[in-house]
């Protein structure tokens, strides 16, 4: 039984391994120029070199710090606006239409505005990332605050709960599943946008910059490695969030 589960977990590796094999076959037979598609061995060797040189950690650290800042600002703002609109229909009528209109503007559309106002600064990048985290967090929190069933609301009335305790004991817990998936989506959004921020706001440092530099110098192996690292970190973040969700939502699992 346990063995079966372990085997099932490994299923996720089948497609990546197949792709790796295809990649290897293509490059070995030189069907594609090594400039565009370097050999897997080359990529691995470059990876080791970068790893030993250590600069990659500086870039990684830079990107992660930026994401953390933008993400925290974005989800805090999203949580506050989402709860406000979820709890008060007046606030929803005031902010809802504006929020939904602004949300239609693609995040990339904000780049010129941010550059004109804040210049090519760290702040501009953080706001850009925060914006990406803000939308899904607001929507999910708002949605979550509306999840409380009328039946439970009656329980709160029977026990004469006041507003703050109603929020703490009833509304927020019933919103928690939605809020947590909001956090998860915001996190991947923020992580995706940091690369964009580093490329479009043309500044030194970070994984995005590393990738762009490598592109300029036609170092496909480095481009590959950055893509791999970005994907891997995104995967890990998602995984950690899933574990956190399972822990916090233990009450949903029966037996």
């Amino acid at each position: 039984m346990d063995v079966n589960k372990e085997v099932l977990k490994l299923r996720g590796l089948v497609v990546p391994l197949a792709l790796l094999a295809v990649w290897w076959i293509i490059t070995k037979n030189e069907w594609v120029s090594a400039v565009f598609l370097p050999l897997p061995e080359t990529v691995a060797a470059t990876f080791v070199k970068l790893f030993l040189k250590g600069k990659i950690f500086v870039d990684l650290n830079e990107s992660i710090t930026k994401v953390a800042k933008g993400f925290l600002v974005g989800i805090t703002a999203g949580f506050l606006l989402g709860t406000a609109m979820g709890l008060s229909s007046t606030l929803e009528k005031l902010f809802g239409p504006l929020f939904n209109a602004v949300r239609q503007v693609p995040i990339l559309g904000w780049i010129p505005v941010l550059i004109l106002i804040f210049g090519l600064t760290e702040l501009a990048k953080i706001i850009f990332i925060a914006l990406g985290a803000f939308y899904p967090m607001t929507l999910n929190t708002f949605d979550g605050c509306r999840q409380l069933k009328k039946e439970y609301l009656e329980v709160a009335r029977v026990f004469e709960f006041n507003k703050p305790r109603l929020l703490w004991r009833f509304i927020l817990p019933s919103a928690l599943p939605s809020i947590l998936s909001g956090i998860r989506v915001s996190m991947s959004e923020a992580w995706m946008l940091v690369i964009g921020a580093e490329i479009f706001f043309k500044t030194r440092g970070g994984l995005g910059d590393m990738m762009w530099e490598a592109k300029t110098r036609v170092q496909m192996d480095i481009v590959f490695i950055t893509i791999l690292i970005i994907g891997l970190i995104g995967f890990i973040l998602n995984y950690v969030m899933k574990i956190l969700e399972n822990r916090l939502l233990r009450w949903r699992i029966s037996n």
Binding site: E154, R169, S254
Partner: protein, 261 residues
């Protein structure tokens, strides 16, 4: 000064507005319940039992006539009334312990005292050892018992139960009836009003059985049950009373599912 836990319903009328039409749901309801009495309400589906109970709980506020608790008009829910809903309505995100303690949260008793009160009530319903369990992990009977404990924690003067045992299987149900009787005896002051579909359950537990009829919901008859306790379900008097109530619904005992003892 009326005694704690007396309920007085006088000429109660309740209508619901559905799509602009006013439909009467309850009409001419008159009922007196004394302190410590156990009253069952029985009647066909849709006759307004739940509506009547919700009015007493204070969850429905527009009505004609009077609903007086200890001589005072009921105006919204209050901790003087405990409620057990048909669907137990335990909060799924709180442990049994936290659920049972919900009613104590607003009180400034201090943590230790609150914990003791919760423990005492868990013991009362036989749920010691299940403090840290979530409702999803409880059986139907256990969840219903937790709900009863939750309703009793504030020492209400009036306990209102809407088909508390309706969702349980026959055996668990009989067991819970014994439990309910035990609780009622131990909490000698508390008045209980219970809705049920089960005539035997009503006769077994009640001092008074209120029979309702529908469209609009009215009280058809109030039958006092004066059998000595503990009651013997197989005794002649018990059977006769059961028959008498079933008669009111134009049903005979042989047509109705009854427990074999």
């Amino acid at each position: 000064m009326t005694q704690r836990g007396t309920l007085d319903i006088v000429n109660l009328k309740k209508t619901f507005n559905v799509n602009g039409n006013t439909t009467p749901v309850l009409e001419n309801i008159n009922l007196k319940v004394k302190q410590g009495e156990f009253v069952s309400i029985i009647g066909p589906s849709g006759c307004g039992k739940t509506t009547l109970l919700r009015l007493v709980i204070g969850l429905e506020n527009s009505y004609e006539g009077q609903i007086l608790l200890d001589g005072k008009r009921i105006n919204g829910p209050g901790l003087d009334r405990g409620v057990v809903f048909q669907d137990h309505r335990l909060l799924p995100w709180l442990t049994v312990e936290r659920n049972v303690g919900l009613g104590l949260e607003g009180k400034r008793n201090g943590k230790v005292v609150n914990k003791e009160i919760v423990q005492a009530h868990l013991k009362l319903v036989g749920l010691q050892g299940f403090e840290k369990v979530y409702p999803a992990q409880l059986s139907g009977g256990m969840a219903q018992r937790a709900a009863i404990a939750r309703a009793l924690v504030n020492q209400p003067e009036l306990l209102l139960l809407d088909e508390p045992l309706g969702a349980l299987d026959a055996l668990t149900r009989m067991y819970m009836q014994l439990e309910l009787e035990k609780i009622w005896k131990r909490e000698a002051q508390v008045t209980m009003i219970m809705i049920t579909h089960d005539v035997e359950e009503a006769v077994y537990l009640s001092d008074k059985v209120v029979i309702m009829s529908s469209r609009p919901g009215t009280i058809k008859k109030i039958i006092p049950v004066e059998l000595p306790r503990p009651r013997d379900r197989a005794s002649y008097d018990f059977m006769k009373l059961k028959e008498e109530i079933l008669e009111e619904f134009q049903l005979h005992a042989e047509n109705v599912f009854s427990y074999a003892i």
